[in-house]
Assembly symmetry: C2
Homo-oligomer: 413 residues x 2
């Protein structure tokens, strides 16, 4: 008789996973990238040259660079972060991690304990929200407008928490191409946030993992760059700029926090081959690669917005995001995006239902996140047509005639 | 004024790390491998062919293989585990992880909670012991003899725990080239362990990460292969057989446990490039590569044992291990290996002091682990000479004349 592991599992562990049965045909979920935009030849050349030169160091944990990660990659990052985000960090201030998800885990492990409170943007990255929930941490959501997190609400929330004797452990923000809203916090709001952070002695946790994908190529200085009190932990990733499957991210942080994260990073280093290949490729090619990537993504976004206008008419409301790989779409009030998700999945269309991407269910129940980097232009068109059909069947919207009559009003808001 | 993160760190977090200042000159610690044995040309060819064929899948998290990892690597492993360890698992029973350290974390997260008890070999891998301590789990150490974990003591310990109403969550064992003792549990003892596991309803957690490095090339069937009740979780790694910096390991487990580990593996997949390169290289080359690697390691072990005999004479007692990358050495009773470690480090020689590798301080205080794969033959000779000198200064042993007079008795036990 097979052994029964059931009685051994501790209470409160997450529900078991289902067996993977392949990807949906029309996949508008996940931060996947455009396969055609992977700089494959460059990566292959980089792999050859770096392995030929330094491959024997693979015999040593951490190569010859110590626990903070492959030094040439940290040096590339220091140069890039100075150029793009105005940051003055050096290789010694950087820790290479296994994707920005490990960055989230390390920052959370270093700072949080059950019962803590943190401040986050109300509409938010699902992986952040589920991590906080699992840790038993209370996430106070601050609403966003077209300029990102609202500073008036942040100020009020900080004041209100203070009156209740609650010291938030950090303000988590994705200021540059916010997930899922695509908004960018301008330097004025960044300065306001930093002032509030100083005033209330709350550090800022800045997640900049989409920051390379601003269409204009210009982004505000990072909060890490702007602070005068060294109170910002900054994380980023190569998942959006090179390839997500590589699992390489980084953390820039004051040594006081860095040294504690290093003590918690008990994985004997992140994957070395990927760090080596990235460093070798990025130092000469990153600055040329990213604009080409962005141009392709922008075209896919336009296809997505056109398809939504054609198929949903005014039933789908959205702002034209300033960069990124996703669109945050508001549907009519009677649409339950969780039900829409289930129904669409049966037809081969995967979407992210709003409540999984927000601290506020009422606000998000009729919203959905659509990722556009991975599907082809044809898949975007076909998938959105099917999604509209499913939505119509389930909720009566969009009205069948709406496509034509109302489509034009709805472009690029 | 810089922000003070101090008040934000939760109680009980580990002490901050020190800044890395480079590797010691004579490094007998860490599971590093022989740089000359990295199959570099093969890995480079594999990188080119797999990237040319499938590189665009890097744009997708998990490639096209889902959350259990790159399917061709799982298929190679299924074939290898059947051939080498008699295991009947398929690719669906395997999960690729970021080194066997992530395997330890996932198994522990799925099964353990604070206050639990587990059974382990008394002399043990430091990373296992520190993980258990951090989780607040009580590790009951079972002594080993030259045949590995003693089954009479295991039986008594299980009986004794039962009388106290304690249900151990697992029996953790490194049965094939045990760390640090280098012992191998034969099939008879494995069968006894499985019988006890059934009798006391305790699953077995089998860590086989050194199993490719048995000098003879022949190893007993794994516990996973031998069980009739599907009560074994088996983990392994490519760190010892290919290169540690790659950070690729695996877990074979019943679906009931696998599905829970998948739910806990929230890292969006392990490094894809490394999985791809390993699969491409290993399928045709692994079986030829490993014997060559072992031959080189065996030679280094012989240099180490000769050096110990020359420099320490009878003051250093050890068994000739049946495989692996480390030697577990007993020094005279008056030697405190923690003090020896400190003193030797000042002279550029790094060793693993016994108490960090054992549940029993009294048993291990005069023992040390010496890893021999990474240093050159010359470094081994020079490093052991310096170590003997330091030991003599600190503890009066080995006696200066001992090298010559007593050396010969001490070979290869």
């Amino acid at each position: 008789m097979p052994f029964d592991f059931g009685p051994l599992f501790p209470a409160g562990t997450p529900a078991p996973a289902m067996r993977w049965t392949g990807s949906p045909k029309y996949n508008f979920t996940g931060g996947n990238n455009d396969p055609d935009a992977v700089p494959l030849e460059g990566l292959m050349q980089a792999a050859q040259s770096v392995m030929a030169r330094e491959g024997r160091t693979l015999a040593t944990y951490g190569l010859n660079s110590g626990p903070q990660g492959y030094r040439p990659l940290r040096e590339f990052l220091a140069t890039k972060l100075k150029r793009d985000a105005g940051m003055a960090c050096t290789a010694d201030d950087l820790l290479i991690v296994s994707g920005s998800l490990q960055a989230l885990d390390l920052v959370n492990s270093a700072l949080l304990t059950r019962g803590d409170t943190v401040i986050v943007e109300q509409d938010n990255y699902q992986g952040t929200l589920t991590r906080l929930a699992k840790l038993g941490v209370n996430a106070v959501g601050i609403p966003l407008d077209s300029g990102g997190m609202r500073m008036d609400v942040l100020k009020a929330a900080l004041a209100e928490l203070l009156t209740r004797g609650i010291q938030p452990k950090y303000i988590y923000t994705i200021p540059t191409v916010q997930n899922p809203t695509g908004t960018i916090l301008d330097e004025e709001r960044r300065a306001q946030m930093l002032t509030l952070a100083d005033q209330y002695s709350v550090p800022i946790f800045e997640d900049d993992c989409y920051a390379d994908l601003v269409w204009s190529g210009e982004r505000p200085r990072s909060l890490y760059a702007m602070t005068k009190s060294d109170n910002v932990i900054h994380i980023g990733s190569f998942s959006k700029s090179i390839a997500p499957a590589l699992r390489v991210g980084f953390i820039a942080a004051p040594w006081d926090v860095m040294s504690r994260m290093l003590a918690l990073k008990t994985d004997a280093g992140s994957g070395a081959l990927e760090q080596m290949v990235l460093a070798e490729y990025c130092a000469p090619h990153f600055a040329d690669h990213v604009p080409a990537l962005r141009a392709g993504l922008r075209k896919k976004l336009e296809t997505l917005m056109e398809s939504l206008n054609e198929q949903f008419g005014t039933a789908a409301e959205f702002d034209d995001p300033k960069g990124g790989i996703f669109l945050w779409v508001k549907l009519p009030d009677n649409v339950d995006s969780l039900r829409l998700y289930q129904a669409a999945l049966k037809e081969g269309v995967a979407i992210n239902p709003g409540p999984e991407w927000s601290t506020d269910r009422a606000h998000s129940i009729n919203r959905m996140r659509l990722c556009f980097a991975s599907p082809t232009h044809d898949q975007i068109r076909e998938g959105i047509a099917i999604l509209a059909e499913v939505c119509r069947k389930e909720f009566g919207v969009p009205a069948r005639s709406g496509n034509v009559e109302l489509g034009e009003e709805n472009g690029e808001r």
